[in-house]
Assembly symmetry: C2
Homo-oligomer: 183 residues x 2
């Protein structure tokens, strides 16, 4: 999945400029995909060259012309074909889990802070997704609900199991076999 396909997807929901595509990614794909302007603008130009999108320019005063893109028939077909080939596995990059894995190298208080921060983030994500589920098509509800379900599970898990990485007693046992504390 590259930014080009992502743009085709957003455009299938309605015509948009590069700027608007970025905004819509933030509000709809937020929790499982994103892209910067530096990748979106070149992607759109390339899609246009390939005839997958069509562009109409609206003149504007005091700022660059707004270029509104829409899918061509070829673009629609391309999107469907890409969707059919989405067999890739999900990939997660979690600095939080890395830190937790090595929690015995950090002070217990620091771990507690990290978990609190994470719970806070999860709470915000859940609230946002709940809100999003209201004004959405069934497919959008499904995807937002999927995110909410996993975030809620993560929240509960953290609350119930944080003692595993915060207990000084457990930590001492393990870390004595690791780095020796210098004098």
């Amino acid at each position: 999945m590259d930014v080009r396909t992502l743009c085709l997807g957003v455009l299938s929901l309605g015509d948009a400029s590069g700027y608007e595509i970025k905004k819509r990614l933030e509000s709809t794909f937020n929790h499982f995909y994103d892209a910067s302007f530096g990748s979106i603008y070149p992607a759109l130009n390339q899609l246009q060259k390939e005839g997958l999108v069509h562009c109409e320019t609206e003149a504007q005063t005091n700022r660059p012309d707004k270029k509104v893109y829409n899918l061509t028939v070829d673009g629609q077909l391309k999107l469907v074909s890409e969707l059919n080939n989405m067999l890739g596995r999900d990939r997660v990059r979690s600095e939080f889990l890395v830190a937790m894995l090595f929690s015995d190298l950090l002070p217990a208080g620091r771990i507690g802070d990290m978990i609190d921060r994470r719970l806070d983030e999860l709470g915000k994500l859940v609230a946002e997704l709940e809100n999003r589920e209201m004004k959405a098509t069934p497919a959008q509800q499904f995807v937002a609900g999927y995110g909410r379900a996993t975030y809620e599970a993560a929240t509960n898990y953290l609350k119930e199991n944080r003692y595993l990485v915060e207990s000084e007693a457990l930590l001492a046992q393990v870390s004595s076999d690791r780095f020796e504390v210098p004098d």
Copy 2:
């Protein structure tokens, strides 16, 4: 988080060669990080230049010498410092969710297949994590359990809500407003 820090982390659990680091990533970090040989070997050489790891070469017959790495004191300090700065957000890349978001552009049967495949993958991940939780330190249990909790939540969610993207009736309503079916 780059591959260099990942290598420092694995080495903090015990000395290892580049090859072994890859294997341990697969068995321990599998569900939230990975790296290829093409990034691990250069990372180790760079870490050695910086004095963060030390290397001992074991001669072998019929294959390249095995280079076993271990953390230096500087390496240990660097790892702790990196762990303290892990404030980055989790990022998920899910082709599955992208496909679901645009499910009204695909035949309902295809969506069903994708969900079945996904349930299968999730089942395998849960089984593997359950197994891993047995023979692990508290921190490793915590991280494996976190993964298991979210995968189980995803599994239940998919089973209970798949109708949202599989129902032909719902699909027809929505997609009639999107692409027109050509003759």
